[in-house]
């Protein structure tokens, strides 16, 4: 492996694991200290490896140094507590003697616990996503800001406030007990779903980074599946949904980086293996009577993995969107329902449905209406596409809309 790429790669893979283990050991209030220790560890690696060469097992080296730094920190903290506070209430002796456990099992356990701590209802879901990207997935502030189309300083502020809130709320780093787990798991799933969508739908041009977001969301969902108390049908349904969506990851962007709409995709570029994995997860999702929004969305995504218009594909997709919305409102689902309505009942009836949504100012609302008005009223189509163009954030989105306007004659 290229040595210059070694440390960035290790950072991406190991930063989150190490911070998570240290933080679960120290408590949520010391997340910054855990991050500092791990950052220092990578700094030492860069210095030492440059001089003495890369050790035979770089990961073990990192873990050993992080462990030592953490124990030193705990020792100092113990001394600090004893000298300054006098009344040592934190079980200091125990703290000092306990090891920092970086075994694979404890890494997984800590990540599961941390997922619940981060996805705490006391902080906004945007803050949860940013924290998860930073602490659980080890993305840099730069990368997070780029993918979420905002500034580094915004992300830093968001993370700072979120950590402060978690500290004030004295959030436990633990998997909630059986009484609480249902509700808390829903918050975690919403965060993972959003994390996936940030990768899948982000207007960021960095395709590799966006794919990494999706893969991380799937990895974390898979951790929930591997744990008995969190392996519920709706978790399998979410995983199936992610597999079905991710199967089109390559097909929806062409070699020039332009977005390719579903109808125009080359189905040979759909990932059959991911579709099959999605099917397997979906079968396990429908064991119970439970029907969550993830079940309905996974079923919709399943229909989308069928290129041929067979077995009343769009009738089924429309029915599922109806059920999805009756269960819980979502503007994205409402817009997609209107598109499915068009595929079943034609443009004129779909225009009535779409306009009733009153989502003026929403990029997808205007591009949908533009699409529906084609050949019904091209002047209206042009107006809506133009409005969408003004709202579009990325060159890829603008290119699609410009092509649509050109096609209106």
């Amino acid at each position: 492996m290229d040595e210059r790429q070694l440390i960035p790669d290790l950072y991406r893979k190991e930063y989150g694991k190490m911070v998570t283990v240290l933080c679960s050991r120290f408590g949520i209030a010391y997340m910054d200290i855990a991050e500092d220790i791990v950052s220092d560890t990578f700094l030492s690696a860069a210095e030492t490896w440059g001089l003495k060469g890369v050790p035979s097992s770089p990961v073990s080296w990192l873990y050993a140094v992080a462990r030592n730094n953490a124990l030193n920190c705990l020792k100092h903290d113990r001394i600090f507590q004893r000298q300054v506070k006098k009344d040592l209430t934190m079980d200091g002796e125990k703290c000092f003697e306990m090891d920092i456990d970086l075994s694979p099992k404890n890494i997984i356990d800590s990540q599961l616990q941390m997922m619940f701590a981060i996805c705490h209802p006391s902080i906004s879901v945007e803050a949860q996503v940013s924290l998860a990207l930073r602490v659980l997935c080890g993305f840099s502030i730069d990368e997070i800001a780029q993918a979420l189309l905002t500034t580094k300083s915004n992300i830093n502020k968001r993370l700072f406030r979120a950590k402060e809130k978690l500290r004030l709320e004295e959030v436990m780093i633990a998997v909630p007990d059986s009484r609480e787990i249902g509700v808390r798991l829903d918050t975690v799933l919403i965060c993972l779903y959003l994390l996936f969508n940030e990768g899948y739908y982000s207007a960021s041009p960095d395709k590799v980074l966006r794919r990494d977001f999706c893969l991380e969301a799937m990895r974390l969902t898979y951790l929930l599946i591997g744990n008995a108390s969190t392996s519920m049908p709706r978790v399998h349904a979410l995983m199936a949904l992610m597999c079905f969506q991710a199967s089109r990851f390559d097909a929806r962007v062409n070699d020039k980086g332009e977005l390719v709409l579903y109808e125009d995709q080359d189905i040979r570029r759909w990932d059959e293996e991911l579709i099959q994995r999605g099917n397997d997860f979906f079968i396990r999702a429908i064991h119970d009577d439970e029907v969550s929004k993830y079940h309905l969305e996974a079923a919709i995504a399943w229909w989308h993995t069928h290129p041929v218009e067979e077995g009343e594909k769009w009738e089924n997709i429309l029915r599922l969107y109806n059920q999805r919305l009756i269960l819980e409102y979502s503007p994205v689902a409402a817009l997609n329902r209107a598109y499915a309505f068009y595929r079943v009942y034609g443009r004129e009836r779909a225009i009535v449905e779409a306009k009733a949504l009153q989502l003026s100012g929403n990029l997808f609302y205007h591009s949908l209406l533009g699409e529906l008005y084609i050949d019904v009223d091209n002047e209206q189509a042009r107006q809506h596409f133009t409005q969408a163009l003004e709202l579009a954030g990325s060159p890829a989105e603008r290119a699609v809309l410009e092509k649509k306007i050109e096609g209106l004659k």
Binding site: E315, L318, R319, Y321, N322, Q323, L325, I326, Y329, A333, A334, R337, A338, F341, E353, A356, L357, Q358
Partner: protein, 122 residues
């Protein structure tokens, strides 16, 4: 935004004299209903998807604990379900009720009734 119950009424006599419903008709009815409710939900105006109310095993209890079968001994029409929606005004609620598939049934009616909030005095 106010909440309104849309209460579906159908004609008891028409139901009694209606023939068998074919599976295709049944599916068509279901499609009408999910499209109508999905349309309301797509506007974020569905408060509760309510319930359908059955006829079999239903009884009516009158004062003096007089129990009679079904809801239909003394009434020609009966309630067969309800949903709760959000609307700016009763007029808007009426507009939303106009697409309800119960209106395709013989004698089908939708009753629009405001939910009484705790601070409503009238």
């Amino acid at each position: 935004m106010k909440e309104f119950a849309l209460i579906f009424r159908i004609d008891g006599n028409a139901v009694a004299s209606a023939g068998e419903v074919t599976p295709a008709q049944m599916q068509e009815r279901m499609t009408y209903w999910t499209n109508w409710m999905g349309g309301i939900a797509a506007r974020d105006r569905l408060s509760s998807s309510g319930h359908r109310l059955g006829i079999r095993e239903s009884k009516t209890i009158a004062s003096g604990n007089v129990v009679t079968d079904g809801p239909y001994t003394e009434v020609k029409e009966f309630i067969n379900g309800y949903v709760i929606i959000k609307a700016q005004s009763v007029d808007e609620a009426v507009e939303m009720a106009k697409g309800c598939p119960i209106l395709f049934a013989e004698g089908g009616k939708v009753e629009v009734r405001p939910l009484v909030a705790p601070d409503d005095n009238n």
